[in-house]
Symmetry: D2
């Protein structure tokens, strides 16, 4: 791509804070410029972002000015794009409330509900039809564009892009692994008494499926960090340890629903000898229901929170207000580097220095023990117009069994969604680790209800 005339299409994201972060970081990339075409089914949200973008351009700290536009259609946004960012909410929080909370009636308690478990299945069923449209439009309007998928369920969404348009240059981007690296830095600090490294200074081998990735090897200055974990676990398993605030490992007790005490991580380490590399609320959803989610509130025993959808609704409204204020010039625009990975990856693809980062791609050798074609998450090398996966080390055998089960489920779910095959969708639904113990009858009732609750968004599916 011509780095002074880049066209970025930003699909969705209107209502998310992340768009602001993205614009903020881009504004600091001196030398890059071009157009950012915003498209959102909520046109107002896109327009708000355009206004924020314009105010960023006016900031004295801005090093890279972009032409922010709102596209009336998806096709317009994509036409001629060099890179595409997709970040959509399939349906509303109303649908998500059904995904997350309906299963509680059957004793299934999901902390997130957007990746796997009954909620993940329903969300995939709503999202894949939208991704089919996007993939087809990319094939028509910008077949050579780099496509960054930020939407969950990430494995299924990324897989859908490839299934519809096999030549797509898409990858799924997720930040969860970074927190696990921060945790390892804290482990180093606690166990050696030395200052902890920045996460980028660690050498680590990452692989798995999105939100159920594993760090199988990690070193910092010739110290094997994995070998520090048994001692660390012994010291901190009981009370938990949160790495967000270096001075207060107990900060997770203060009610921030995205924090955790990493007790699930430590428990999984005791089981498998590798480090689960995602937030505990995500990791728990891939495991047997009896391990971490047999009670409505896992905090007491496991130190993590379930994120209730009403909370998400309130938070979103707050953000909308903030955005509104920024857009109208009622709040000051501040620009500061946040290190947002997606911006770094676009820069690397634009030829501004190679970078290794963990992203989601169909397997074509990077996880040689796993079937070819399944979407997996591993480290990849990003360089000028190039994305090449690194061959990951092997998972510990026990973790491999668990990841494989979930990877096959994801793959079946994608097949079910692509074919709108209700039978296979239900089969995959019942096969979710969180649905263990559910009878076929209860499963049928619960699945039917979740479908009915969200049928307005189940495009192309036949409910009976």
């Amino acid at each position: 791509m011509n780095i002074t005339k880049i066209k970025l299409a930003y699909i969705g994201g209107g209502s998310r804070q992340w768009a602001r972060v993205f614009m903020n970081d881009l504004a600091l990339e001196a030398g890059l410029s071009g157009e950012i075409a915003l498209y959102d089914i909520d046109a107002e949200a896109a327009e708000r972002n355009r206004e924020i973008g314009r105010r960023i351009n006016q900031s004295p700290a801005c090093l890279s000015r972009w032409n922010y536009t709102v596209s009336p259609t998806l096709s317009d946004a994509l036409r001629g794009a060099d890179a595409v960012v997709i970040s959509i909410l399939p349906g509303t929080f109303g649908e998500m409330a059904s995904d997350v909370h309906e299963p509680e009636a059957y004793g299934i308690y999901q902390p997130v509900g957007d990746t796997v478990g009954p909620g993940g299945v329903l969300r995939a069923m709503r999202t894949v039809p939208q991704y089919e449209t996007i993939a087809r439009e990319i094939g028509l309007r910008c077949p050579n564009a780099w496509v960054l998928n930020l939407t969950n369920p990430m494995s299924v969404c990324t897989g859908a892009l490839y299934d519809v348009f096999p030549r797509v240059k898409a990858f799924g981007c997720c930040h969860e692994v970074f927190h696990a690296k921060d945790f390892l830095a804290a482990v180093y600090r606690e166990m050696t008494g030395e200052p902890g490294p920045g996460r980028a200074e660690l050498a680590a081998d990452v692989c798995g499926v999105n939100h159920f990735t594993w760090i199988t090897r990690a070193t910092y200055r010739a110290v094997d960090l994995i070998s520090l974990l048994p001692g660390f676990t012994e010291r901190f398993f009981q009370k938990g340890y949160c790495a967000s605030n270096p001075n207060d490992p107990q900060s997770f007790r203060r009610g921030d629903v995205f924090q955790c005490g990493n007790k699930v991580k430590m428990d999984l380490f005791r089981r498998f000898g590798a480090l689960g590399a995602a937030g505990d609320r995500h990791l728990a959803e891939f495991c047997d229901r009896g391990w971490y989610l047999d009670k409505p509130d896992p905090f007491g025993e496991w130190g993590f929170y379930r994120t209730p959808v009403p909370f998400r609704i309130v938070r979103q409204e707050e953000r909308r207000c903030e955005s509104e204020a920024l857009a109208r010039g009622l709040a000051p625009v501040k620009i500061a580097p946040s290190g947002e990975e997606a911006v770094q990856l676009i820069c690397a693809l634009a030829g501004r220095g190679a970078r290794v980062s963990n992203v989601n791609l169909p397997n074509r050798g990077q996880m040689p023990d796993f079937p070819s074609g399944m979407v997996v998450e591993t480290d990849c090398l990003f360089a000028e117009d190039t994305l090449q996966p690194l061959v990951a080390g092997a998972l510990p055998p026990g973790a491999k069994a668990l990841v494989m089960q979930n990877a096959i489920n994801n793959d079946n779910l994608l097949k079910a969604c692509r074919a709108r095959d209700m039978g296979l969708a239900f089969e995959t639904f019942m096969n979710q680790p969180l649905c263990g113990g559910l009878s076929v009858g209860d499963g049928e009732r619960m699945f039917a209800r979740m479908c009915r609750n969200t049928e307005g968004y189940l495009e192309g599916w036949k409910l009976d």
Copy 2:
């Protein structure tokens, strides 16, 4: 092999009725003859079988006379053998009682406990060391012999033979699939009103791992039997249906602990669209604990029994008495063809007609979606000195996820046993579907206890 001078080594089996069946069927194979070398660590049991063999030879119905000998050592039995049958009990019923009943304290109820689940893991840990010895001796004494493994856990035991002596010509033999075929014959009878076929008349595609095999396709005279199952399930799921006695589908209610109402089979069919091809008590052990085994007695809801070890002890004593009586001439020897598969397979290998049968072998293409080297069960073609697997059809995607999880567990368990790796053994133990919901702490306590209970037979393992 020279069919008039066959040497069969029979390792173990002294205390099992099956040896009698085997001798009975062999006696009816006119044209075959040779030596049957019996070896059992319970030398008395071997001698009893030799006496029974001699009486069979004297029977007027006997068509094929064999020279029955008792070998003082394993090496003697194996030396120069053309075929070897292995059927051992690793440890005593005392150990098996620990395998099966100890986990009950943690709410884990195993119907069999000799294949997977906590009991299966411990049994593998005891058996593999013995199989290492046997495999090495086969390599030295009869490297070209055909080796029939009848011991459980069958996948792990068969795998151990190949791991120690890669050129071994071994396969694992199991009768469970036959009952599933009988069940399908009954389905045909019930749903068409026509007389049911014999099991050998069905064409079926079988694959999976031992005791968790699946029939994915089955036809009889151009009728697709799988397509009859939804209707059959609707009619019989509630009350259950036992195929053992054609006139009494409710016969499983009469307390025979090896019978079942096939309700698990029907439930799994509703989940996955294929027929689990083993007894319900086996199938249930491979599934999430919440599906069929959340209560101590599964009979009420699921129509199958758990087999208590005290029952096995009583039954064995009865059989010992029967054998004793036969050996001493206090009971009449009756010979009649039972269709015993192991004898049929030996005949096929001896060149007396090709035969297709489902057996357990390391995967080398027969289940192409599964990793190479893992022991799997599929149909194979037996012909003169030849055993070739048939490439099986694909499992339904949901069943594949479940079988894969168990197959990886088996493979990890074999690795753990071969290396006497307590950590990996425990990891596999915790990964058993039946151990879902077990905390690491409880798991450690339970595992330690089960090890201590059986440590006399944990050859080469280091308990701490």
Copy 3:
């Protein structure tokens, strides 16, 4: 299929003797009956066959009467068929003359020229477009029919059927392996002095690609036939040995262009330790040009003939006359069992007894060292409505390299033909072992000329 109402569609074959053999053998299958729908672009030829069929029906020896019809269109012939036989000549012998003889100007001498080599490539380019039509029609008219492909190049044609209509139940049938088994029977006879077995009595492990298959293991009554080959080769390599006439191993010297002295087979055995299982004229085409085909006439050194196309033209005319005579009642119809394999396979699929036979199918595990999806030839089990490949033993490592090279070429050729990709077609052309030593310039000229010679049949290809 209902064995009294079978519909067989016979596509092409009008001008080949083989149709008569097929009708002959079918007529002896008591219990089977139905319709045989003949379709040939040479309608007269189809009508001749119908008339012959009618006369067969009138023969007193006929045990199974069929209703022979001539279909006006391909669709009509296929509609509702239970089995389809495809045996077409892509183009005329004029095109084949170009395939076989044009390369002679560049020193490339092909004995057959219909499978690999420059002739095989051009033939594939003509045939695949026709197979695309047939595959689509099968998908529409008889998607569940069993499809027997007899047309060369067999690998590419069979692959095309699967590529266009993935659910097709097709396989490629070829008799060449039988001759290699006859040769092994002769080896047994010569080396033991005992009477030779019939080919069906041998146990053999067969694998490779069509016309370049290998027997890697063969036994008869516990005698390892492969181990007899070194001695046999020593005795007979110099003079050659033909197995067609047991009393005259030198009969291949009498000018029958389909006979050979098996010197190529023996030479390949010395190179690789396995038996090439096709006629020498076929085997030679898969090897380096310098091995067997560096001179216009290979007979002197290698004891096989090249089949000139003018010879084929004369022979075909003779057969047309014979058929004409039979059709008009000017020659007597004689029916006698010939053991024609295609008829036996249809009988097996119709449920009249299982049968193992070597056929061509996309690899899905039967040759585990070879990529999935490539068409390979191995033994398969045929039973009622069932076709299952047997997992073959490994090729000797050197032969594997050679077969792999040819298998990849075949696969590339199929891709080139499907996409009408002239560049890839030329690449594959140049990669043929027989094109070794050809410069790119000469290759381009020769390829262009062969395309122009046959352009009337290169449907959908763009020549410039």
Copy 4:
């Protein structure tokens, strides 16, 4: 590794200029230091290098001083090493003269003769036994060391290290790909008129087997370099183009036997559409003998030289004299950065910045179309104590067939050497593309003669 106390073991290399280059570049790596333990069976050569090392230490330009020692035994050199460099000559140039020139009697003309072809096979047979010893010693003395193999045949030697000691952290290093990148830079310069980039500025995707690697994709500032090749080839194919001297593309005509006009590269590009990434003399040896090596002197037609062994002998003596002069202080030591890759890779492994470089490793996913375990050459990421292969893009289908054939040959050759299996060695010998056209009889004679010529170094092989 502790970067101030690195122990490097340097095995062999006594007589090669490369050791001097290596010491030179190391001397410029400020911050690194430690011991370099030299071991050579020619102890004098090792001592010469030690003296040169000492003089380098005294140079004012030296930034990194190393303790150079001569080890009396291989074990001493390896004990506790952090990194090992292996660069041995198996046998003397007398053996190499047999490898290269003996086959000329049969019309086989090898330009190099140390990788594939008859010479490569014999060289492997001599080298593997030595590598077995080295691998075992590494396992005992420095199992965690990084091992850089520089010896040819590189695929087989690297494979032997892994086969003997599977945990070895070895890779094969070769410079040939760099010249292909220089060539691409020249292509850019010629076709765009812009100044050519340095080779490190190109983005390229590399894969294949050593000396037969391919660049399948290459870009520089968003220009697709591969797309420039057709035009370049048209302009320069006739006269040839050498990239060593930017002002004189015809410089290869001046008799330097290591230069070439890249006509083979251009010819292969016309065949396959990808760029062969090694010197033409190497590439030619992997192809059909008729393509580039049907005449004793390929220069006239193909613009590359064969390197006669007498020339190597003269050159080596010159180098010995130079070394002698340097060691004795009769010539000035000059230090200047040469960019030697091996030093850069050691620095990367020591934690001084990540680097991507093409090296040889057993395949574990980096070439997903190739069998696992075969040694292949692809780009890999080097970082602190980490070596991870990048998953390479696919080879063009035609090139894949050719590379596969050679890769299987290499693999068979390694197996033959490990088992000292003369039959398999001969099979592989005959399967070399350069041995096309060789009769079995001639092959046997030639192979026997080459074995006898070199039998003093065929350790453990049984010649008859």
